[in-house]
C-alpha cells in the first residue's frame, strides 16, 4: 500500500474498457490552477478504490466521471463513448442507462418507499428496465432480499430505516438493471465496522455477478484490499 498506483492498466480478460480518463482538470468557480487528476483506466467488471484526504477532489472526480460536471480540459471515455462530445441531456441519459450511484448518506428520496427508491432507475431508463428479470419490482425485491433489508420495510417510508439499511437500499438502487458502472462516494463512512464490511462484501459480490465496474471512494484505506486496483489522490500534497 505504500506505492501509489498512478495508472491502472486494463485487465487482459475484459476486452472493453469501462472508464478511461486522460489529463482531467476541473476548476470550481474561484479556484485557479486545480491539479490534473491522475488518469484512470478501468476494465469492465473490475473494481477501483479511490482514496485521499478530504479536499483532494474525490467527489469532483466522481462528478466528472458521472458526467454531472464538464471538465475544463482532458477527456472521459465511458464504455467506449466520449462524454466530452455528449450534450448535457445525452449525459443524463447515459447516466440513467449505464450508471448506478451511491452517496455518503441521505441516498434516498424521502417520499418514496424503499421499493420505489430501488426501482427509480428503471423508471428513468427503459434500458435498465429491460435488463431486469422478470420485471423491475421482482428484481428490486430480490436485490433487497439479497442485501438483507427486512421485507416489512419494503413498502414503508425510507425515513424509518436505519442508516445501514438506507445504504443497502441505495446499493440495490445502484445495482438494479445491471448498469456497467457503479460510482460510490464514501458509502460506508456512516456505518460501523461490522456493517461496513458486510455492506462492502454484498455490494462487491453483487457487482461481480452483474459484471459491474465499481469506483469506490473512501478515506478508509483499510478497505483497499477488497479491490482490484487502487488510486490515491493528492498524495504529493
Amino acid at each position: 500500500m505504500s506505492t501509489e498506483t498512478e495508472q491502472i492498466q486494463a485487465s487482459s480478460i475484459t476486452p472493453a474498457s469501462a472508464i478511461t480518463t486522460r489529463q482531467l482538470r476541473f476548476c470550481w468557480p474561484g479556484q485557479v490552477n486545480a491539479p490534473v487528476f491522475p488518469d484512470i483506466e478501468l476494465a469492465q467488471g473490475e473494481h477501483l478504490f479511490l482514496h485521499g484526504p478530504s479536499g483532494t477532489g474525490k467527489s469532483t472526480l466522481l462528478g466528472l466521471l458521472a458526467g454531472m460536471l464538464a471538465p475544463d480540459s482532458g477527456s472521459v471515455d465511458l464504455l467506449g463513448q466520449s462524454l466530452n462530445t455528449m450534450r448535457s441531456g445525452a449525459r443524463d441519459r447515459f447516466r440513467a442507462n449505464h450508471m448506478g450511484v451511491i452517496f455518503q448518506q441521505f441516498n434516498l428520496v424521502p417520499y418514496l418507499s424503499a421499493l420505489a427508491n430501488v426501482t427509480l432507475p428503471c423508471r428513468l431508463s427503459p434500458l435498465r428496465r429491460a435488463r431486469t428479470e422478470p420485471d423491475h419490482d421482482t428484481a428490486a425485491m430480490a436485490l433487497l432480499e439479497h442485501l438483507a433489508v427486512p421485507e416489512s420495510h419494503w413498502q414503508r417510508g425510507v425515513t424509518e430505516l436505519s442508516i445501514g439499511q438506507q445504504q443497502r437500499v441505495a446499493a440495490a438502487r445502484a445495482l438494479i438493471g445491471a448498469p456497467e458502472i457503479i460510482l460510490a462516494d464514501e458509502p460506508t463512512s456512516a456505518l460501523d465496522a461490522d456493517n461496513r464490511d458486510r455492506f462492502l462484501d454484498l455490494l462487491l459480490a453483487l457487482a461481480e455477478q452483474r459484471r459491474c465496474s465499481v469506483v469506490f471512494v473512501s478515506h478508509d484505506r483499510a478497505l483497499a484490499s477488497h479491490f482490484h486496483h487502487q488510486l490515491a489522490l493528492g498524495g504529493e500534497a
Binding site: M68, Q104, N107, L112, D185
Partner: protein, 425 residues
C-alpha cells in the same frame, strides 16, 4: 410520455409527503378562491335577483323626483315619497286609451317594520316579476272586505301568521311605532306565494282601507271621537284624494317614450314617469363600481395566497437539495426536476379549486334561505356560467405561472449541481 408519468407520480408522492405543511397553504388558497368565486357568483345572482324584481311594467309614475328615488320607494320599499299624485291625475290616466292597465299604490303605513302597500285588485292581476311571472296566493284569497289584508310570503313566515289572524297596522314607517290603528284591526285574507322580491316583504290592503283607517288622523295623530269604528267605517264610501305612485302597462310598448314624455310634461301637476328597466340598470351601474372593487380585492387575495404558496415552495426547496441530487445522479434531467414544482403547484391549485367549489356550493345551499329571509334576495344553486369557469380556470394557470419561479431556479441550479452536492447539506 413515461417521463411525464414519472414526474406526475413523483409530484404526487412528494405532495403527500409534505401534506402537513401544504395543507395550510392549500387551505389559504381554497379560502381565497372561494372568496373570489363566491363574489363573482353572488354578483351574477344579485343582479339577477335585482333585475327580476319587476317585469311587464312599462312605466312607474310618481310625484316629480329622481328616477332612482322613485324606483327605490315604489319597488324596493326603501326611502319615502317626495310627494303624492292627485287622484284626479290617476283618473285622467285611466281614461287614456294608450294605457292598458294601471296599478295605484299608496304608501305610508307599516306593519311591524314591513311596508303597508294600499292598492287594488289590479296589483294581484297585473304585477309581474322575474320572467313575466304573475303573483300567486299560497293560501287564502286576495282582499275583498274593507279590513282584509294580504301578507307577503316573507312577512307571513317571519311573523308566523296564518290566514284569519288579526293584525294591527301602525301609522307611519319604522319597526316600532307609537301610534297604532288599534281600533281597526285587519283580518288576514290571504298569503302570497314567495317571489324572492321585495313583494314578499310587504302587506297589502285596499285603497279604501287606507282612507278608512286615517279618518280622524288628519293632523297626524288620532283625534279621539273623530275616528271610526269598524261598523261605521264599512258604511261609508271612500274616495282617495291622492296616491303615492302608479305602475303603468301600455297597450303598445312602442308608445312608452311618447307617454313618458307627455306625463313628464304634464301641466296638471309635476310628475315623473320612469322606465323601470332603465332605472334598474342605472341603480346597478352605481352598485357595479362597488362590486367590481370587491372583485378586484378578492383577486388580490388570490394573488397574495399564490405568493404565499411560492414562498412555502421556495422554503421547501432548501430541504429538497438532497432529493434533487439523488434524482440528478440517477439520470433525471433538470427539466424533469423543474417540472415537479410546476406539477405540484398546479395540483395544489386544482385541489384548492375543487375544495372551493365544494365549500362555496355548500355555503350557498346553507345560506340561501337566510338571504331570502333577511334581504329578500333569491340566491339559488346553479351551474357555473362561462365567466365563472374562466375565473376558476385562471387559478391553475396562475399557479403554473408563479411556479415557474421555483421551477426555473431549480432547473438552473440542478444543471450546475456537482456530484452529490446535496449530501453535504
Amino acid at each position: 410520455m413515461s417521463k411525464v408519468r414519472l414526474a406526475l407520480s413523483l409530484a404526487t408522492a412528494s405532495l403527500w409527503y409534505r401534506r402537513r405543511v401544504l395543507a395550510l397553504v392549500c387551505l389559504t388558497l381554497t379560502l381565497s378562491v372561494t372568496l373570489l368565486l363566491g363574489i363573482q357568483y353572488l354578483r351574477t345572482e344579485i343582479r339577477q335577483s335585482f333585475t327580476s324584481t319587476i317585469s311587464g311594467t312599462d312605466l312607474i309614475v310618481g310625484a316629480r323626483s329622481g328616477q332612482l328615488n322613485l324606483l327605490m320607494y315604489t319597488v324596493f320599499h326603501i326611502g319615502d315619497a317626495t310627494n303624492n299624485i292627485r287622484w284626479s291625475t290617476f283618473q285622467a290616466m285611466e281614461q287614456d286609451s294608450r294605457i292598458d292597465w294601471l296599478i295605484p299604490i299608496s304608501l305610508g303605513d307599516s306593519y311591524r317594520g314591513y311596508r303597508v302597500v294600499s292598492t287594488n285588485d289590479q296589483f294581484f292581476k297585473r304585477f309581474q316579476y322575474g320572467n313575466d311571472q304573475a303573483l300567486e296566493l299560497s293560501r287564502g284569497e286576495w282582499f275583498d272586505d274593507l279590513f282584509d289584508v294580504v301578507l307577503g310570503a316573507g312577512v307571513a313566515r317571519q311573523m308566523n301568521h296564518q290566514v284569519d289572524d288579526e293584525v294591527v297596522l301602525s301609522h307611519g314607517g319604522g319597526r316600532t311605532s307609537f301610534s297604532n290603528h288599534t281600533d281597526l284591526p285587519f283580518r288576514i285574507s290571504g298569503i302570497l306565494a314567495p317571489t324572492g322580491t321585495p313583494v314578499d316583504q310587504a302587506v297589502y290592503i285596499s285603497l279604501e282601507a287606507m282612507e278608512a283607517i286615517h279618518v280622524g288622523w288628519e293632523s297626524g295623530v288620532a283625534i279621539p271621537g273623530r275616528t271610526l269604528s269598524s261598523d261605521r267605517a264599512r258604511a261609508r264610501d271612500y274616495k282617495p284624494d291622492s296616491i303615492t305612485a302608479a305602475f303603468v302597462g301600455l297597450s303598445q310598448p312602442i308608445l312608452t317614450f311618447q307617454v313618458q314624455r307627455q306625463l313628464n310634461q304634464s301641466s296638471e301637476e309635476p310628475l315623473s314617469a320612469i322606465l323601470p328597466g332603465v332605472a334598474l340598470s342605472e341603480l346597478w351601474r352605481m352598485m357595479g363600481q362597488f362590486e367590481r372593487a370587491l372583485l378586484a380585492i378578492s383577486a388580490f387575495v388570490v394573488v397574495t395566497s399564490l405568493i404565499g404558496l411560492i414562498a412555502v415552495l421556495l422554503t421547501l426547496q432548501a430541504q429538497r437539495q438532497r432529493e434533487i441530487a439523488i434524482l440528478r445522479a440517477t439520470g433525471a434531467s433538470p427539466l424533469l426536476i423543474a417540472s415537479l414544482y410546476s406539477f405540484e403547484c398546479v395540483a395544489l391549485a386544482l385541489a384548492a379549486c375543487v375544495f372551493a367549489l365544494t365549500l362555496g356550493g355548500s355555503a350557498i345551499y346553507g345560506l340561501s334561505p337566510w338571504f331570502l329571509e333577511q334581504y329578500g334576495i333569491q340566491i339559488s344553486l346553479r351551474a357555473l356560467n362561462q365567466q365563472e369557469w374562466l375565473l376558476l380556470g385562471a387559478i391553475p394557470i396562475a399557479a403554473l405561472t408563479v411556479s415557474l419561479l421555483p421551477a426555473i431556479t431549480t432547473w438552473w441550479r440542478s444543471r450546475k449541481l456537482g456530484f452529490g452536492a446535496g449530501s453535504d447539506l
